[in-house]
């Protein structure tokens, strides 16, 4: 997988090239807007990592130029400019995503993969939150080393939770998602389901917030 890295800072450029190389990507690194412009048309890049503060041609300008010439390689902006306006104008000009420096490599590669996947239009049947993976076809749940096929109700519970990781769902919200209209719901039905999932995957996978509900950690 070829990656075009447009970054003027030597330390970051070298570091990223090494880190991404270790992930099995081959990185073409250019250090200013003009050089980037020259190679933008190369269709071989799977993704462009673009710094905004560049000498010569500003990153936003380059972005505009690229989209104007209908270069449709996914562009992930990596920048130290954190103001909301910068973010908005970056996305308005056609950036696919925006990552604020400093960031963890893990975060960067996850976003790169997501962008590439999205561009490829590859639909995945897997729902992921952190190290939890739920397969919508097989109803298989994987968490760390544990792996098991869920019952229909357990699957409905986990599906509701994994759709919005980091968000708390109340008992009522979970019941609505798990049970159909008019179905009789035992008052402790949700607790029983959660207990049975936890028994297979450990107590810490589903977080409980007393008085509010249950959730999965974001990452």
């Amino acid at each position: 997988m070829r990656v075009l890295l447009v970054e003027d800072d030597v330390m970051i450029g070298e570091g990223l090239a090494a880190a991404l190389g270790a992930e099995g990507m081959s990185v073409d690194w250019v250090r200013d807007g003009a050089a980037a412009e020259a190679v933008l048309h190369d269709q071989g890049f799977a993704i462009v990592l673009l710094d905004l503060g560049l000498p010569g041609m500003d990153g936003l300008e380059l972005l505009k130029l690229a989209r104007g010439r209908s270069v449709d390689t996914p562009i992930l902006v990596i920048t130290a400019r954190g103001a909301v306006e910068d973010r908005v104008s970056g996305l308005d000009l056609g950036a696919d995503d925006y990552l604020l420096k400093p960031f963890e490599i893990r975060e960067l590669t996850a976003r790169m993969r997501a962008l590439i996947r999205r561009r490829a239009g590859r639909a995945t049947s897997k729902l992921v939150a952190g190290d939890i993976e739920l397969d919508a076809e097989t109803h298989e749940l994987r968490h760390g080393d544990a792996e098991a096929v869920l019952s229909a109700r357990e699957y409905a519970l986990m599906h509701a939770l994994i759709e919005r990781p980091g968000r708390i769902l109340s008992r009522t919200q979970l019941e609505e998602r798990i049970y159909g209209w008019g179905e009789e719901v035992e008052s402790n039905a949700v607790d029983v389901l959660i207990h049975s999932v936890r028994r297979k995957f450990g107590k810490t996978m589903i977080l409980n917030v007393r008085g509010a509900g249950w959730m999965l950690a974001k990452s």
């Binding site: 800072d9 130290a80 400093p102 968000r167 708390i168 008085g211 509010a212």
Partner: protein, 442 residues
């Protein structure tokens, strides 16, 4: 307070009163003195003429000395007419009780008799000598009356001047009073110049200088904020480089220096948190009034709790939420979220494993109250007042934190006119309770 003190305390009104009073008094005295002198001279000339006429016309048949004085005649006004014959014998004295000796010199003279000053005119014919005298006090009285009449208008003018000056000054100074109230009520962040309309022309330059000062101060404060913001911003790039290099290092040197690279990574993470909070705070200081959007407080509380649930779980802290009402307010959702988040973040940091955090949304007496209380150490004595200070950390040293969270929280609370307190619990548990009180008017 005497006049000198009034002038020293630099009261415009007092000074004007003192100066005008002194001026009027001087004018009054001068007018009075001049009137006295003129009237005295005029009276002298006139009365001397009369003395002379009486002396020249006093014939042999002057009325007898014992003729009674007219009833309504002031004794002071009486002429004393004395006539001597050629042998020097006193043949007539109109006021026998008054003995004015015969003057040696003819014409006008002054004499003293019966304890009074007299003006005397002496004339000598072939057979007799006539001497007419009148009390000096008559002339003085005329002059005094004139002086009094001259001084009277000025004397009346003094209290009138006080009234008028007092009134006029009050009118002029009223605008200054309004101005000082405006200035006193100005918020520290207000940067609009002082309105100059209605300010007395003499004071306008002062107000203008003040405006210049406000502008310079604003620029200085602005520059300061920009510096913090720029510095935090500029730090992001080298931090990003460090972050990447540390990760590369820990990948390549796996096993060999795990402890060191983990510590290094933690240091970078901590610096990153500090920089982003600094930037956050600088941005809050920079922006003017808080935005005016509907804020769903309950949702923000729920999200903030969710954001910290994983960390609380890892620390084995029991995090709970109790929702007693639906709270809404007006403001900036991002900022309110940052406020709530920093309170919950603090609670999670400071609660020891096995402890408990209760987040609640209530509506006692008209206001919405979001309360975050935790079990754990109490704030040390004196720390309650300082928890909002930048970089102040009541924490045991092993607790990681930037010391900026509560500064950010307070700044957001100020911008939204929320009440914010952080204090030790008084409900029997040891620990700390943070309370945000939100006005209900939407």
């Amino acid at each position: 307070m005497d006049a000198r003190e009034v002038l020293k305390t630099a009261s415009l009104r007092g000074a004007a009163l003192v100066y005008v009073t002194v001026l009027l008094a001087v004018i009054g005295l001068a007018a009075s003195a001049a009137a006295y002198l003129y009237a005295y001279d005029a009276a002298t000339e006139f009365l001397d003429g009369q003395l002379r006429q009486v002396a020249l016309n006093a014939g042999a048949g002057v009325s007898s000395a014992d003729a009674p004085a007219a009833e309504d005649q002031d004794p002071e006004d009486q002429y004393a007419v004395s006539i001597w014959d050629s042998q020097g014998r006193l043949v007539h004295a109109s006021l026998p009780s008054v003995h004015i000796p015969l003057q040696s010199r003819l014409g006008y003279a002054k004499a003293e008799a019966a304890g009074e000053q007299w003006r005397v005119y002496t004339t000598r014919g072939s057979r007799r000598t006539v001497q007419v005298a009148q009390q000096e006090v008559v002339r003085r009285e005329i002059a005094q009356t004139a002086a009094l009449v001259a001084a009277a208008p000025v004397l009346i003018a003094i209290p009138l001047a006080w009234l008028v000056i007092g009134w006029a000054m009050n009118r002029m100074l009223a605008r200054l009073n309004t101005l000082s109230i405006e200035l006193a009520e100005r918020s520290i962040g207000a940067t609009a110049p002082i309105a100059l309309d209605g300010i007395p022309a003499e004071v306008a330059p002062f107000a203008r200088s003040m405006n210049n000062l406000i502008i310079r101060l604003r620029d200085a404060v602005e520059a300061q904020r920009r510096f913090v913001s720029d510095a935090a911003h500029e730090l992001r790039t080298p931090l990003a480089a460090m972050q990447i290099q540390v990760e590369n290092l820990s990948r390549e040197a796996r096993g060999a220096h795990d402890g060191a690279t983990t510590a290094l990574a933690r240091g970078v993470r901590r610096t990153t948190a500090l920089v982003s909070q600094l930037l956050h705070l600088a941005r809050l200081e920079e922006s003017g009034a808080a935005p005016d959007e509907m804020v769903d407080v309950n949702t923000l509380v729920l999200e903030s709790v969710a954001d910290h649930a994983a960390l609380a779980d890892r620390k084995q802290v029991d995090l709970g939420l109790s929702v007693g009402c639906q709270a809404v307010c007006r403001g900036a959702p991002d900022e309110v979220r940052a406020l709530l988040s920093s309170l919950i973040d603090n609670a999670v940091r400071y609660t020891p494993p096995g402890g408990r955090i209760d987040v609640s949304i209530k509506q006692p007496d008209g206001r919405f109250v979001v309360e975050v209380s935790n079990t754990g150490a109490s704030l040390p004595k004196g720390a309650e007042a300082r928890v909002f200070d930048r970089f102040f950390r009541a924490a045991p040293q092993e607790t990681e934190g930037t010391g900026l969270g509560l500064s950010i929280a307070r700044r957001v609370a100020e911008r939204h006119a929320f009440g914010l307190t952080v204090e030790n619990r008084v409900d029997g548990e040891t620990g700390v309770v943070a309370r945000v009180s939100i006005p209900t008017k939407a």
